[in-house]
């Protein structure tokens, strides 16, 4: 595949029909909550877009995010769109290794300076940068070096977006997300552990179509995918309203598909497209499979108490504080009562005198 080929040319070469391509454009528009009138615009923009160079850096991560994308139902038009970008550096997918791989990254950076898209998965250890290195280069240095010439950055997965699991208490490596290091580039956070494949490709498609980053929420996430919370779009929501809850994972309520709120579902405080887009080509999502939402697209999801503790349950702390408060209260109560009695006695003595 030639580097200066347009997406349209690449798709035709791969035998993708016009109809199939337009279907993808319509699905993307719908997923991004764009007007159907924009479908031709998306198609035109995508067709004529030069394949942008994409450099994908993986830092402190489990490769789950990449697994997620490669597990997108194959072959789909999404795969093709993903294939027709010029993925110039991705440690897992690229054939090159060692010096050749690093040379490929450097060449892509040089050739496309200021234009390439940087995708990052994994968090960056800043406590001790030597905890994670690639080709002898610390993640911190590699991120700074590569981000300098990027047009925009896409932080894929909760680790790159917010620090994720490596950031969880006690955060031994001092892990942080990309936005805590790079502050002078547009950053799109696509959190999730892992994120939904269609969401990642949707974000890339939006960037290709409009040449700019989509509307983001206060956490830097595309509103089109992270605008609504899981609870609001959950098919089990009516059971929540009716007060029908599964009490355990194998009781009658669980079998009947009742709400998982009591089992710690974090759906009400989690913003993601799982309940709408679902996984595995729309087959299911965690709640549909019988497990509550873990809230993996939210910052610090690992440190919000147990996954199985309901949202409304308090974090009560230790009983010592309450015991001390009760003892102190009792002491002041006794003191104030004695003082009052002494005043009473004095007053009655004065009256008697």
């Amino acid at each position: 595949m030639k580097k200066d080929q347009t997406v349209g040319e690449a798709l035709r070469q791969r035998g993708v029909s016009r109809r199939g391509f337009l279907k993808f454009c319509a699905a993307t528009a719908s997923m991004m909550a764009l007007s159907p009138a924009l479908v031709p615009k998306i198609a035109r923009a995508l067709e004529n877009a030069r394949r942008p160079s994409v450099i994908w850096l993986s830092f402190q991560e489990c490769t789950g995010c990449l697994e997620s994308i490669t597990r997108s139902a194959s072959p789909t038009i999404e795969d093709l769109i993903f294939n027709v970008i010029s993925l110039d550096y991705q440690e897992v997918l690229q054939a090159a290794s060692g010096t050749h791989a690093e040379e490929a990254r450097k060449a892509a950076m040089q050739e496309n300076h200021g234009k390439y898209l940087l995708v990052v998965d994994g968090s960056i250890p800043v406590g001790n940068p030597d905890y994670s290195t690639i080709a002898g280069i610390s993640n911190l240095d590699m991120l700074k070096e590569t981000a300098a010439g990027a047009a925009a950055i896409v932080s894929v997965g909760s680790c790159a977006a917010f620090g994720g699991i490596p950031h969880a208490n006690p955060n031994p490596t001092g892990a942080v997300g990309v936005s805590e290091i790079i502050t002078d580039k547009p950053i799109i956070n696509v959190p999730g552990c892992p994120p939904i494949p269609a969401v990642i490709t949707g974000v890339l498609a939006h960037y290709l179509t409009f040449g700019k980053i989509p509307e983001l929420d206060h956490l830097g996430r595309p509103v089109a995918f992270y605008g609504q919370n899981i609870h609001d779009r959950c098919y089990r929501r009516p059971f929540y309203e009716r007060g029908k809850f599964a009490e355990t994972f194998d009781d009658e309520g669980a079998r009947k598909g009742w709400c998982l709120y009591k089992l710690g579902c974090k759906g009400p405080i989690t913003y993601n497209a799982c309940a709408v887009t679902k996984w595995n080509d729309g087959v299911s999502f965690p709640i549909q499979s019988g497990h509550g939402c873990l809230g993996c697209s939210e910052p610090n999801f690992w440190d919000k108490g147990s996954f199985y503790r309901p949202i409304s349950a308090g974090m009560w702390g230790t009983p010592e504080g309450l015991a001390a408060a009760a003892v102190a209260g009792a002491a002041i109560g006794v003191g104030s009562a004695l003082a009052a009695r002494s005043r009473q006695k004095k007053a009655s003595e004065e009256e008697g005198a």
């Binding site: 309203e241 709120y261 610090n300 919000k304 309901p310 974090m315 002041i332 006794v334 009562a337 004695l338």
Partner: protein, 219 residues
């Protein structure tokens, strides 16, 4: 730490510490001021203290016949919002889970639409009572800052709870955090204002009844 984490964690712990401290202080202080000995002989007509105390708890829960007409509105609205408030606090499932996380046991709750209706009636009654307090010539004069502060801290959790439940205003997690914080404000104010009647109302009725029973008077 997010606002919700703060509300569910440190804010809850500290507000509860203040609540326990204040409540124990007030109860111990009041209990030690009670008369412990009788200085006179019991009258011939003296009744049983316990019976008198219990009777007064019950009789004072309904309006006396003489004043029934005059206090009907107060009695009905007062009872209505108290019952409604307790129903919302104790029978909304997420609230039950909140208590369960502390007590270790829960109880059955009501469906959300039922709670919504009860909450709406409770809120409307509270607003009506506040308006009455502000325009009633006598009530207006005898009302103190405590009355208004207690109304605000008791009503805020209801309003914020409604907004959180209906997903109105701010994002759900922020509104939920504000709802929990408003409840914590209630906990903090509770021992130091008139809300303390939750603990005092029945013991004081009992005490009055018991004293009058010894005097041979039925109240």
């Amino acid at each position: 730490m997010s606002l919700l984490d703060f509300a569910r964690g440190p804010a809850l712990q500290w507000s509860l510490i203040i609540f326990v401290f204040g409540v124990v202080w007030r109860i111990v202080g009041a209990a030690l001021l009670m008369r412990t000995r009788d200085f006179s002989k019991a009258r011939v007509s003296s009744g049983d203290r316990v019976k008198g105390g219990v009777r007064t708890i019950l009789t004072r829960s309904v309006p006396p016949e003489t004043f029934e007409k005059r206090i009907r509105f107060q009695f009905i609205t007062g009872s209505l919002w108290h019952i409604g408030y307790f129903a919302v606090v104790l029978l909304f499932v997420p609230h039950i889970l909140f208590f369960e996380s502390f007590l270790g046991f829960g109880w059955p709750g009501l469906p959300n639409p039922v709670i919504l209706v009860i909450g709406a009636i409770t809120l409307a009654t509270l607003v009506a009572l506040l308006v009455r307090r502000m325009i009633h010539p006598v009530l207006k004069i005898i009302s103190t800052a405590d009355d208004y502060i207690s109304w605000v801290v008791a009503t805020l959790p209801l309003i914020t709870g409604f907004l959180a439940m209906a997903h109105l205003g701010l994002r759900y997690e922020t509104m939920l955090a504000i709802h929990i914080l408003s409840f914590e404000l209630l906990l903090i104010w509770f021992p130091f204002g008139k809300l303390m009647h939750l603990f005092f109302v029945f013991p004081s009725r009992y005490n009055v009844g018991a004293i009058f029973a010894r005097r041979g008077v039925r109240v």
